[in-house]
Amino acid sequence: MEHVNPTSSIRNHVAIGLISACIIAFQLILMQILSYVQWYHFAYMIISIALLGFGAAGTFLTIFQKKLKQNYVTLFPFLLIVTAILIPMVVGIANSKAVRFDSLLIFQDSRHIGKLILTYFIFFLPFFTGALSIGMSFSKFADQIGKIYFSNLIGSGIGGIVALLFMQSIIPEQQPFAVAILAFLGGIISLPGNKKTLFRITLSLSTLILVVFYFYPPQLTPSEYKDITRTMLLPEAKVEYAKSTPNGFVQIVSSPVLRYAPGVSLAYQGPYPIRKVVFNNGNWMGSLLQQPIKQNETSILDYTPQALPYHIEKIENALIIDAGTGENVLLALSHQVPHIITNESHPEIFNILNRSFAGFPQVQPHQTLSRTLLTLNTHHLDLIELPVIGSFFGNSGLNAVEPRYELTIEAMQEMWNKLSEKGMISLSCWMDYPVRNAYRLLSTICLLLDENNITRPREHVVAIRSWGAVTFLVKKSPFNLDEIDKVHQFCDNRMFDPLVLPEEQKIDRNKFNMLQDTVFFIHIDQLLSPDKKVLIHQYPYRIHPTTDNRPFFFQFIRFKQIPQLISSISEKNFPFLDIGYLLIILTFIQIILIAAIIILLPLSFKPWKSKHKKWVIVYFSGLGLAYMFLEMVFIQQFTFYFGEPTYATSATLSILLFTSGLGSYYSSTCRKNKIRLVLPLIIAAILIVYAFILSPILSATIGVALPFKIVIAIVLLGTPGFFLGMPFPIGIDYLAEKKSDDIPWAWALNGYFSVISTVLAIIISVEAGYFVLLLMAALTYALVSISNAWIKA
């Protein structure tokens, strides 16, 4: 064993911290890059790939343990520098024409499945080399595992913050280079001082390569099916503004043929305005309002069903939810609403919104999520208007696993509670085929009315339909005849058709916009009738109301339907329908297989003789599985709490990793203590308590000032985080103490289950909800604790 002096030990800890920070930062940046060139759901793929790197590193360690340990001093800095070089390199290769896959062609063109798998392997490389360097350190300094794990977790926590800084200040193409510098610095400080020639050569070569990457960064080309790509094909299209933010890459594009008239009535005779369009991560976010805004100018949205509430009631107080660039605010303004509250969580889009209405004191924009605003708002509102739901005529389900807390039954109840006596909630959706959005909205409305003891829902619901969209109005008090007359007038003037009116009203639902048959009307009527549950249960898609526990409004696929959908892929019957969730399932299957091949298969060739085999399997697999389950639950809960997804995710990860780091540091002091055996049971107990108290605490304190919220988050995350950091180093420490060869197996099993648990957590959340996911994590820790009986004996 080589002697390691105290100075080099400190350098080593710093280097481990740097590579850990680099890996986490790269992971977050890569998630952002893939959200830009592809779609959001590949974020989960990146987490899995990163963890795959860790698992594979464990396997590699097992096979080459002796050589790696012997050459640690030279190999460690070498791996860090290789990681630094690989980071910008793999981003460039994965985005090259030959390798780049397209999500929307995966079910259309089998070559794209091959490209997707190839992308897995390419992205896997820097995670593998980075993880190998950390794993080697664990193995080499097993006797100091607590401290090494501390450096690793603290570095990871800092990595989350560094990634945010990079996303805010550096263009996406340069971000991989920036994170690579962290690994490079780690490599440089850990280069052995006694090998000067090696030092010089490595330094010169790696600097040269990185300089090349700085001047020739990887080209990021969004999928040809993304809104931005299609828009850029328009004549004279040009990007007028671009800004990288942690919430996404914002671009503003202009073209003389870029018109804004989504679903506008055929009765509209004016010109369709030419507008600049705002994109976030290549996705359409809204169009820029014509400046200066004139309050009396009719909005083009006045010719869409969304304008209905303004034509039947005098609105005094309106809440416009998730206003985006402000088109719905303009609609309210044009109807002389004296008090308009609105929100937008994306900071850059919020700035646009804020600037647009700066001269209008009646408009109060808030930069937060709608649920936070609903809690904070104390006014009684005449109108709460949500943005149009769904994509224009059917979507490909790419946002299937994106939680939508503003559309859950709890959100609706909060809105209901804020309504004045004549107040209304306005919900609009694009028509999709097969119909899903409209049915899910109406089933949510009906449940809301049920829960508020409204026995005659038709008296409180009005709906109208254009050729492209449906608007539902839910009113706290029953609609009166005067209001119903105004609905008819509005429909006749705008060429819209009434869809839902009080029972006694005879209506022609097919006057202007005919449907091929009456199935849609029959379903709508059934959802408003007492036997709505029959339809909700029998409809081929999920249309039941969503809850805060399962807030996936756009996930319509039933799990049992998946084999049927997969079999129809070969018939090319649903090339782009609801593929978001299918991609998650596909990712899960692929990751199980790839992780098994990379992590477990090579180990199976090496005989594993151990007295602790059973324990190692249950203990380390369980820890891998449960920790990631918890991360997913906490990220969701605290995103809802802070009302700002990107910062909330980074803060949650950083607090969790930081406190876990403290826990692992502290664990070295209790290695002999018997408490270590029941530690997982303590964690399980905390988690069971959390399953019942976390959500109520967060709901009760959502309105307190930000500094208090941060303190509450630190306490709530830090308590389990501290304990969560302890079992892994304690387990490794135990194996080291026994001079066991099980450590790489422990590392690999932990890695394997971490890899699959990320995507599995999404599937469990969708199918059973976050509550069950949290309980499953608790159960897993309980099992881990029980497994300690094997070593106790």
Binding site: E224, R230, A261, F392, N395, Y433, P434, L515, Y539, L577
Partner: protein, 235 residues
Amino acid sequence: MKKLSVLLIILLDVGFFSSLSGQDKFETNRKEMIKKQIQARGITDKNTLKAMEEVPRHLFVSEEYRDRAYDDGPLPIGYGQTISQPYIVAYMTELLHVVPDDVVLEIGTGSGYQAAVLSRIVKKVYTIEIIEELGLAAKEKLAALNYDNVEVKIGDGYYGWEEHAPYDGIIVTAASEYIPPPLIQQLKDKGRMIIPVGSSFSVQNLMLVEKTGDKIRTKSLIPVRFVPLTRNIKP
């Protein structure tokens, strides 16, 4: 010399027959396509069926997708655009109710395939493509394949092609989120416009716009791919 001539004849024959067998393959595929994908789904209009049988779809897709040209699905043609599923092309063509004397406007030339199919039925097809590269490629292809009654223009389809209006039928093959008023104005009385609504890579619903005097009426047509699923539900 004699041997050389024999060899040359054999080689030429092999070339001829292999190219013939390639042609045969596409013709067979095309006939299969008509039978299994189009007639089987209820398309009965003889003009449409004849046109679909005549137009070599494989020549409107890139080399890499040629073997899959007669598959039952859309295919990418670049620039985020697709050549529609054969059934969609047939369905839209049939719905236009066009006859040999008619003049048709197409918005969104794309590969040029839909225009080629229409040109076998009507007197004249005017087609507009906003993406220059696609429009030029389609123009060249249609000319090379002697579709002389098709005229291609690069431009903004929103304004239609007023110079040749009114049209008996307008077919919009690029998905839109609005129905441009100039197109309705350029439609003849009793004329029909077919427009797909939705993002162009997930064409799920076709809209029929009928003009009778000053009155305009829309009709949402069957969501083609999902008919069985949607309609099997018992209320």
